[in-house]
Symmetry: D2
Subunit: 176 residues, 4 copies
């Protein structure tokens, strides 16, 4: 756990996903819009320093291997140890596994927490604020490693899957 | 940290405070209303089991020593190791110190996280969802002890105070 | 204007449109969901009687001539004089003109107010509550005829168009 | 009804009341805060011109005869014919009757709509947006006179009272 008195800077990378979905009436379509997490953190009045950097704006089903390598590279390159990545839910665990492997390969002692939401942050009924709060604590308290933080739980990315019918994350015993 | 695959039950005790403030137009007055945290946890779709028990409905400035002893007793008596207490912000640290001492005296290995909000959960602009998410992660990831979880940070209750002018929690080096 | 002391029943017909848009994460797609106006009216605490009947759930660009005839027929068939129709914004004026003609042809002394919203009612930032309130007053106070009630204004459906770039309704001098 | 194509300017006067109630954690108290109606109108995207002027910030139970005279004077003095007054609910009808008498005495052909809300506009669950939308339509469509617009209804201020137990406005047959 980081020093309680002097909070470390949290590096936030955004990649898109439902949390950032906006509705464009002119097109009658939802699309990934401006990253919401910076606004959420400011409105929550957080007293730890954070930097937000947008890496891409994609549904997670559209993320490529190159995108995942970029995400891992940027995490390794940042000087900060505590990292939150906002990400679409469908392939969040997959990206987290790529990052987990990269952290091991680079012997990087970083805590990386992946989070998103099942309903857009712009909705009245959304898990976005809760999830970002959850991720903010997880990023500051967990030991180094890559984690999926969804539905109020911390998951090892090798032992979690999104149940698309129930629309929630569930643990799986065998690595996915 | 608790087993990632099998989340422990989180025991939630509510005591009142701003997070539960309701506005009663008939009286043109605010009062502590129904506890909001159960609704917040359900609406966030959390996948860990939790129990909510209301202990009292008070502004934290009205809490007595007897109230604090009751809170500590109920925490010691619950079979669950992971506990969240919703509490008014003005004397949150004081109650957390009473609980910290009780945990030590009883050699109880419980993680107890105190949380509240600076704006009522019923407001559009509120830190309640974020804070409850933050506390949910803190309660599941921190080692045994009593903590104040506010403004996106985990504080030792002996080294924190609420700055009433800034309306936020700040670390203090000497025990308060 | 209806008798101030004894409000008439307002008949509400829903046809879909942005106001009812829901986001389905499982499909990463929006769709027209449950009609929202009944909930909005109840949550606003309205003290006039109203009936809500869902006629269809469509984007207004998908509405056919047969749909418009059905809407007009149902308006003529209801015993109530004061009618609100929730409708997508893109072809709202077109449907209102069909209804206006039907009212004239049937010599029906009904006040029919078309309303929708530019952002879904499920969004935090939405014009839905305001617009439904506006339509509720317009339906109770305007003389017989068909109207488009959007952007805080009452428009003759023959002299209004939706500016898709500005995403708002504008008056036009020549009939559209 | 005003010309549909060229909307008149709506003059808005604010006097306080529940609609503008803010919660001040530092004092653990609700108080009348910044007027909310300008923000509500802008967020609703209204396409009619309006001016907002704050006259006072009071619970309506604290309004004096001098306050009511001031409100009436300002309404008579404004060059605009269409006026909305935001007002606390407890004595809204009383102020509206003072204004009704002033309009008659001055032979002023103005439409003045009194509106407020039973829950603060800052709450998630509030009638504020609906009521402001309702008032915006009422102010543009009603003939000259003073009206109370609450609970989705237009009331003659001489035949309405607030039922404090039900927390809603009800018609009364005999002048109150």
């Amino acid at each position: 756990m980081s020093d309680l008195a002097s909070p470390e800077t949290v590096q936030v990378f955004t990649t898109g996903g439902t949390i950032d979905k906006e509705y464009f009436d002119a097109k009658s379509a939802y699309e990934v819009g401006e990253p919401q997490i910076g606004t959420l953190l400011r409105e929550a009045g957080v007293a730890f320093p954070f930097h937000v950097e947008a890496l891409m704006r994609k549904d997670s089903l559209e993320l490529t291997d190159a995108d995942r390598d970029l995400i891992a590279d940027r995490i390794l390159a940042t000087p900060h140890q505590r990292v939150i990545v906002t990400h679409g839910t469908d392939t969040m665990a997959e990206t987290a596994r790529v990052v987990a492997a990269a952290l091991v390969a680079a012997e990087a002692a970083k805590t990386v927490v992946f989070v998103g939401s099942l309903a857009p942050a712009r909705f009245k009924a959304t898990d976005a604020e809760f999830n970002v709060g959850f991720a903010a604590a997880a990023a500051q308290t967990l030991p180094p490693g890559a984690y999926v933080a969804m539905n109020g739980r911390v998951f090892d990315p090798h032992h979690v899957r999104k149940d698309r019918n129930l629309n929630r994350f569930e643990p799986v015993s065998s690595p996915s």
